[in-house]
């Protein structure tokens, strides 16, 4: 569970009354996924619908956990990059957008871009579960290109409120490419280990 202070920081960021808010959340490694789940709960409770890009876990694992936490998963679309990276067959589900096993950054970008209009709410989010996990597979130049595209997309969505969230493990937040991405975000929220 997120502490009230962290919740408040996220709530303040999403209520900035500004189009295209970009947040980086630094999470402790001992409760990484639970914290991700708490953030999604917070966003969906505020009427947001979103695209969850998962580099860490397969779709079914995430959706089951979210459902057990009371999250309405019908308000979410998933891009199951974890399964694609593992070479396994992706789950057939209307909420799960397929990407090929090569996980080309342009394909990923296209999948996100085409999925945004499918969300019905005026309040939308794009949630990247871990920037460092994808960096194990792709060159840093590609990760930077991916991040820049998302940042530009969110900034130019003039009519709608789109929030972009990059999650990183706190222990890896000092990596140079993470600092480079952090330089372009509106707010960095650091979640304490004991939350």
């Amino acid at each position: 569970m997120l502490k009230d202070e962290t919740k408040k920081s996220i709530e303040q960021a999403i209520q900035m009354n500004k189009h295209g808010v970009i947040i980086m959340i630094e999470l402790p490694i001992n409760a990484y996924f639970e914290m991700n789940s708490s953030t999604i709960t917070l966003l969906t409770n505020h009427g947001f619908q979103g695209i969850y890009i998962s580099f860490q876990r397969p779709f079914k694992n995430i959706s089951s956990f979210f459902e057990s936490e009371g999250i309405d998963t019908s308000t979410l679309l998933f891009i199951d990059a974890a399964t694609a990276l593992s070479g396994e067959k992706q789950h057939e589900d209307a909420r799960c957008i397929h990407v090929s096993q090569e996980l080309d950054i342009d394909e990923l970008v296209k999948a996100i871009y085409l999925s945004l209009p499918k969300l019905k709410s005026q309040k939308k989010f794009i949630f990247i579960d871990s920037l460092t996990t994808i960096s194990q597979y792709k060159p840093l130049s590609e990760i930077m290109r991916f991040s820049e595209f998302l940042i530009k997309t969110v900034r130019k969505e003039n009519e709608e409120n789109v929030i972009l969230i990059f999650n990183v493990a706190k222990d890896l937040a000092q990596k140079k490419f993470i600092r480079d991405v952090a330089f372009h975000v509106d707010q960095v929220i650091s979640v304490e280990n004991n939350e």
Partner: protein, 185 residues
Amino acid sequence: MNDIEKISKELNNLPEGWIVMLETSPEKMLEVSLSTIKFLSDEKNYIGIIVSASRPQKNLIQLYKQKNIDTKKILILDCISKSQSLNLEEASNVLYLESVSSLTNISLAITASIQRIPGDKFVFIDSLNSMLIHNKPEIFVQFIHGILTKMRIVGVNGLLISLENETDKEVHAEIAQLCDRIVII
């Protein structure tokens, strides 16, 4: 609370398809491994798929017998014996793999074993530190990510054991964030 009670408590209260990182000291590592395997096979009635990069099958079987672990509930993927030209004892519960650095073969063997063994089971990676001696960190992280994803797809439980504070900080963080729980004993 002693170590065995702590292991039982931590592993008792997890959702199906859990992945846990166990961290301990070099002095306790063997006892923690054996107690965990005993708890999961005896109390939980799971079948254990042991990926051993630390000890050969012959030695493991002796230790399991001393600890009264039912070896019929264990399959050992031995990554040591073949590469060290040890005597490969014929047994139904062992697969001898080329070496600790043959990550593709290890991955295929884990996947095949998961498919072959019916019922509740767990995969025990013993240990991250031993495997990291023989593999490049970035390749090893990819291997673990791939294996954990495959395990999560089919809902198989997993344990990764490592030495506390002795694993490269970045590798540790990359792998730990993929786990449901980190248990320090």
